[in-house]
């Protein structure tokens, strides 16, 4: 489309042209008064106001956090759940760049973009929760390395992973700006960034679970297990892929005119492949969960009210979607794939909230229930991410085909003609 046009213009008029191009790109591209915009804009503004109050008056002015429940919705949902949902990026880059499953190639970019933004926004939400955010550099600059802390590990991995994900995505930025030489250099970094990113992801996905290992005695025994890190890691695979399926379904409709033919044609096939991986990992997950119940002799707990709740999570939102995915693959049914993905996402949400909020200090007299302010800020974070996501989709070759010069540079895998790029 006009991608190539931008590119050549940018190159032709140099830095000033590039600047003007960037400014023009900042302007909205779609219609402004859509239902989504009308609903989301006020929420984002409200979230900003609430955060301003939070930073001047302290956390208690807008949250229900207490001495017994120091971490609430902003950690339990934004960080812990959000990062699990972002797991699709590392799984897909692993499939495409390590295992060379080329059929997933067309959705790698959008998934990495999603993952990168999820980390920026959701892991970034950690800053709202910090009591003393101006000290956040302490564990980074090296005067205070708490190396025995799981949170130290998770924080570092978040930062490094954001860099890795950005490097993975950066060729798209270079294509947008028409920077051919930069694109070549950045593309060469992809495999390294992927390997680094997958390693970091395995560690911090499980690390998020490991954060709760010392909360033994505070988390309901049905959700507390020495295997939480493993559960979090394994479930991040199908959580992330389910989000990819889900997000793909929406993108196919919302960004219809941005999606390349190639992408559209392969989408059904991709969804089936991902569903198959979901089913496989969910099966392993169920097996591991059952082991914990048997090994920890927790059968008796299943009849308690919390036990019933546990069964709701495990049956309705793990076993059922597992069955749905299995059937979906057998009948090659797109609808079933989507149903499976939606159920899985609910299940992951429930699981993460059960560990971090619902099952956390479940037996204290005054339970934590988030305030409406906490909910609004959370919604604001999610919506702001969608805004930025949409902004990028409308400008960079993410769902659409890269400009022809970029495709030419990639075409013959080994003998790329250097002169052309």
């Amino acid at each position: 489309m006009n991608q190539a046009g931008f590119a050549s213009t940018a190159r032709a008029v140099g830095a000033r042209g590039l600047w003007r191009f960037l400014v023009s790109e900042l302007k909205p591209k779609g219609p402004l008064l859509t239902a989504f915009n009308l609903i989301s804009a006020p929420i984002i503004v409200a979230a900003a106001v609430i955060l301003a109050i939070r930073f001047t008056k302290g956390l208690s002015s807008v949250t229900n956090l207490s001495q017994d429940v120091p971490w609430g919705l902003w950690i339990g949902f934004d960080v812990v759940t959000g990062v699990a949902f972002a797991g699709g990026a590392y799984v897909l880059t692993f499939l495409v760049y390590i295992l060379r499953q080329e059929r997933y190639h067309s959705i790698v970019r959008v998934t990495v973009l999603n993952g990168f933004l999820a980390y920026v926004f959701y892991a970034g939400a950690l800053l709202f929760d910090l009591g003393r955010p101006w000290k956040v550099v302490n564990p980074i600059i090296g005067n205070s390395f708490g190396v025995s802390s799981v949170l130290f590990l998770v924080a570092w991995h978040f930062m490094l992973y954001m860099i890795a994900a950005f490097v993975e995505f950066s060729p798209a930025v270079a294509e947008w700006l028409g920077l051919r030489r930069a694109r070549r250099a950045l593309s060469a970094l992809t495999l390294g960034a992927v390997i680094f990113g997958v390693t970091l992801s395995m560690l911090h996905q499980s690390g998020l679970g490991a954060l709760y290992l010392m909360a033994k005695g505070k988390i309901h025994p049905l959700w507390y297990s020495e295997f939480i890190p493993l559960y979090f890691f394994v479930s991040s695979v199908f959580a992330g892929l389910s989000l990819v399926i889900f997000e793909g379904t929406i993108s196919q409709r919302v960004f219809r005119n941005r999606i390349s033919e190639d992408h559209r044609a392969r989408h059904d096939d991709i969804v089936l492949g991902l569903s198959k991986i979901c089913a496989g990992t969910m099966f392993a997950y169920v097996f591991l969960k059952v082991l914990d119940i048997v090994h920890g002799q927790k059968f008796g707990l299943l009849t308690t009210p919390m036990g019933q709740w546990y069964l709701v999570e495990m049956v309705a939102f793990v076993l059922v979607p597992l069955a749905v995915f299995t059937e979906a693959v057998r009948w090659r049914s797109q609808t079933l794939c989507k149903v499976g993905a939606a159920l899985t996402l609910v299940g992951i949400l429930l699981n993460r909230l059960n560990v971090t909020i619902i099952g956390f200090q479940w037996d204290i007299p005054v339970r934590y229930i988030p305030t409406v302010y906490e909910v609004v800020v959370t919604l604001g974070v999610v919506l702001a991410e969608i805004w930025v996501f949409r902004w990028v989709i409308y400008r960079m070759p993410v769902l659409s085909m890269p400009p022809t010069w970029a495709m030419d540079a990639d075409a013959p895998p080994v003998a790329a003609p250097r002169a052309a790029a």
Partner: protein
Amino acid sequence: MNRRGFLKTLGLAGATLTLPRTGKAAETETGTAPYGVLVDTTRCAGCNSCTYACAEANGLPEPEDPEAVTRPTTDQWTAVRGFETSKGEVFVKRQCMHCLEPACASACLTTAMKKTDDGPVVWREDKCMGCRFCMVSCPFSGPKFEYSSANPRIRKCVLCADRLREGAPPACVENCPEEALTFGRRDDLLRIAHKRIANAPDRYVDHIYGEREVGGTSWLYLAGVPFEELGFPTDVGETSYPSLTASFLYSVPMVLTLGPALMLGMAKAARRDENGEAASAAAIPPAVEDEEVRS
């Protein structure tokens, strides 16, 4: 000893550099045992003298109605609470336990929370970023957070670390009229406690809370009734809390080195396959694959 063992388990030998070691403790007859306090709940009268002394020594607001405060707060680091038990009302003073291997310090990613050689677990304002992971991790709800401040601090008993350095006992111990609190090296305190139990087996249950709980704490408790009647958590176990995350942290360097190596190998193998099979394979997905594979 314990701390060193713990760090070794983590395989983080480098971290020992950050732990200043003084020879002072090693020369006393009682070895390297940290300081601690023994609380004899059978002696406590619930007068709250300790609470007032604590406030004064640590610059906290003067307690208005300490009887009404049953758990430590940001402004009152120690609280005395009465329990109705099978042996009548028993008063229990509670505060941070100053664990030998503190969960809070191992959780702290800025080392703001720190176990000092002498025993006190202290908090350092210039380091803390207010993440409250220490609170999530502490088995005794030791650290409290100033939620209503824009410049919040973590507040908890610091075992009067400054006074200890000058050779004085903690303010609470000094001001207890009933001698319910005894200050000393932890192993001396354990000897005293065992002797008290042996001399009056009817007066005490045969258990010193803190001797083994969570790997041992610097505050030790004697009681005439089972500890669950006195509001102590009895499900915390005897392994140290930091060891709960040890195996996870131990696996990190392994994954960081083996992971990339494995993946590089896999990527190479996959590319070799591809080159062998179809030379047409390109960065843009090839269309041929479409029908056949559904692996």
